[in-house]
Symmetry: C2
Subunit: 168 residues, 2 copies
């Protein structure tokens, strides 16, 4: 397989995975493109490479910076901005986990916390089932949250070594 074709496949696959997990396909594709680019790229280059408009490229690059996955660079004597992706996979994973927790998990955790406090008659099957489900989901969510906390602070090698020590 040619390098150019391989890059293309990676960009497609990353875009598809992203969109399946609720990440804008274009954002995932731009991220993929930057991940396989040794040098920082300009907005212009991103536009050409992925056939997207200036507006789209600009917004997507800013989103990626908002996610902490990409940073702006400047070249001496040049006016335009260059964009460079952090290539450290563990950093990427932590950053994504951190953002998604903040944006999507935390709000649900807050609501679940409130819902566990709803009072009612344990003799009422409607209440009992509601209460049981909410309580159980809340417990699981809190365990996930605690594990994410550890992961966010952890070094990659230590994290996986620890995991596989028990899980073989």
């Amino acid at each position: 397989m040619e390098l150019a074709e391989a890059k293309q496949k990676f960009i497609e696959a990353w875009g598809k995975l992203g969109s399946e997990w609720g990440i804008n396909r274009t954002m995932a594709q731009v991220h993929a493109l930057l991940l396989v680019s040794p040098e920082p790229l300009t907005t212009e280059e991103v536009m050409e490479n992925l056939n997207i408009s200036r507006g789209n490229a600009n917004m997507t690059l800013r989103d990626l910076m908002g996610w902490g996955l990409v940073e702006k660079q400047h070249k001496a004597g040049e006016r335009k901005e260059y964009f460079f992706a952090d290539k450290d996979t563990w950093n990427i994973a932590r950053q994504v986990a951190k953002e998604r927790r903040k944006r999507e998990l935390d709000p649900v955790l807050k609501i679940l916390g409130e819902l566990t406090k709803v009072e009612g008659d344990q003799k009422d099957p409607e209440f009992k089932t509601f209460n049981q489900s909410i309580t159980d989901i809340n417990k699981l969510a809190k365990n996930v949250d605690k594990t994410l906390d550890t992961m966010l602070k952890a070094e990659e090698s230590w994290f996986w070594a620890s995991i596989f020590k028990i899980f073989r």
Copy 2:
């Protein structure tokens, strides 16, 4: 807060979380509704409760069965089908993890595997960066895959006990 209001909030929150993670909002809402229903519900009841059409309710319920989260039940002497959700949170988590791995992670893992085999000149920065990124992502993905494997086979209490034994 009233039970009815609390149910509504849960259904909304679950639907929102689902849609943020690439799960059809209605599917997540139907699942939420069944999770807080002590008795199995008919298609009719799901339609009324969530204000959705018959076609939508039917397709969504079948999808939920496809995900292994809901099962059909029949009442003696009755012709219509009743739907009941497994309320065991750990089962739900495992089932979702299992399906998403099969549908979304495995295909990407396959592609990454192929892409790690692409050959090129290590002196070429384009190739070197591509190769490094793909190799790293592949490694991470494999570690996630292995961990999921363990989780899928594990008992809940054992799993979390093991996790928290190392992580603190």
